[in-house]
Symmetry: C2
Subunit: 201 residues, 2 copies
C-alpha cells in the first residue's frame, strides 16, 4: 500500500494547486474571448504547459467548464450567505440582496454567460454540476422566507426582477450603474406589492 490516501498527501495537494491554477487561467481567457472562445492549447500555454498535459488534470474540456460552472454557484452561495437578513427592514435587506447579485454578475461577464445563458454550443452542465446549482438556488430561497416571501409565485417574480436588473446592467451599461441604482426602488415596488397582496386576500 502506498501513501496515496488522505487529503493531507503532498502529491494530492500539489495536484489541487495546479488544477486551481488552470481554472484561474481559464477564467482569465474566457473573460477576454468570451466563454465559448476558450481553447485548450492557449489555456495550456497560459500555465506553461502543452495541451495534452491538461488531460492529467481534467478529463475533457467539458470537465473544465463543469468545474467553472460549479465554482460560480458556490461563489454565489457564499455571497448570499454573507448577506444579513433584517426582518425589521425587508426593503433594505432586499435592496442589498439585489445589489449584491448585480455586482456578482458584473464582476465577470464570462461567469454570467456560463451560469445563466447557454452560450457554449454542445455543452451543458453535467448532473453533478447541475446539482450544485440547484443546491445553491434552494439555499437562496430560505432568507426570503424569513422576509415573508413564501409563495413560489412571489419568489419567481423576484428572481425575474433581480435577474432582469442584472442582465440589463451587464448588457447595456457594464461600467456604470444605470440599473444598479434602481435596486432600492425595485425592492420597494416589490415589497409593497407582496405585502398589499397578502392583506387583500
Amino acid at each position: 500500500m502506498t501513501a496515496t490516501a488522505g487529503p493531507g498527501n503532498i502529491r494530492e495537494r500539489r495536484r489541487g494547486q495546479t488544477r486551481a491554477e488552470i481554472l484561474q487561467a481559464a477564467w482569465r481567457l474566457c473573460e477576454r474571448d468570451g466563454i465559448a472562445g476558450l481553447s485548450l492549447r492557449e489555456l495550456a500555454s497560459e500555465v506553461g504547459m502543452r495541451a495534452p498535459s491538461l488531460y492529467t488534470y481534467f478529463a475533457s474540456k467539458a470537465a473544465i467548464y463543469d468545474e467553472m460552472f460549479a465554482a460560480g454557484y458556490r461563489e454565489l452561495e457564499a455571497i448570499e450567505a454573507d448577506l444579513e437578513v433584517d426582518p425589521d427592514d425587508p426593503v433594505g435587506t432586499l435592496a442589498a440582496s439585489i445589489e449584491a447579485f448585480i455586482d456578482f454578475c458584473c464582476a465577470s461577464v464570462a461567469r454570467f454567460q456560463l451560469m445563466f445563458t447557454r452560450a457554449i454550443p454542445g455543452w451543458e452542465p453535467s448532473s453533478e454540476a447541475y446539482a450544485v446549482s440547484v443546491a445553491s438556488y434552494e439555499r437562496s430561497v430560505e432568507p426570503f422566507m424569513r422576509l415573508g416571501i413564501d409563495e413560489q409565485r412571489h419568489f419567481d417574480l423576484l428572481t425575474a426582477l433581480t435577474s432582469g436588473l442584472a442582465s440589463q446592467q451587464l448588457a447595456n451599461d457594464p461600467d456604470g450603474d444605470r440599473w444598479r441604482r434602481l435596486s432600492r426602488e425595485a425592492a420597494e415596488m416589490y415589497m409593497t406589492h407582496v405585502t398589499h397582496e397578502r392583506k387583500g386576500s
Copy 2:
C-alpha cells in the same frame, strides 16, 4: 448600360429570394446548434450549395449574423407596432406587451441569444445593424409615454422587469408558462408603483 437597375429586375429578385432562403436555413441550424454553432459548410449544404457559393450572397459570416440581428429587431418592432394601447387600461396594455415580448423571446432561443446576449466570440453587430436595434428601441418607448411612463428611470425599471421575466421563462421553463403567467401581476405591481410615486412627489 445593361438592365441591372431597379428593384423589379428579375435577377435581383431571384438573388433576394436565395438570400432569404439562406437566412431561413441559418435560423434553423442556429436553433439546433446554438447561435455560435453555425458553420458555413453546413449552411451551404442545407440550401444545396457548397460553402464558397455563399460568398456571392453575403460578404462574410459576420454579414450573415448582421442580417439576422437586424431582422430580429425588425420583427420585434413589428410585434410592438401591432400592440394596441388603451390609455384607460394601462395595466392590461402593459401585461399584453410583456406577454408579447416573452412570446417573442421563447419563439426562438437562437434569436434571443443573438439579440440580447454576446454569445458569439469575436462578433458584434456592425454599426448599421446596431442602428436598427437602436431605432427599434426608440420606437418601443413611445407607446409607454402615452401610458404616462415618461421618466427614463421608470422605463429602465420596466425593461429590467420585462427582460427578466422573459429570460427566466426561456432559461428555466422553456415549454411552460411559469413566468409568463406572472405578466399581469407584474404589470399591476409596476403600474401601481409608477402611479403612486407620481402622486407622492
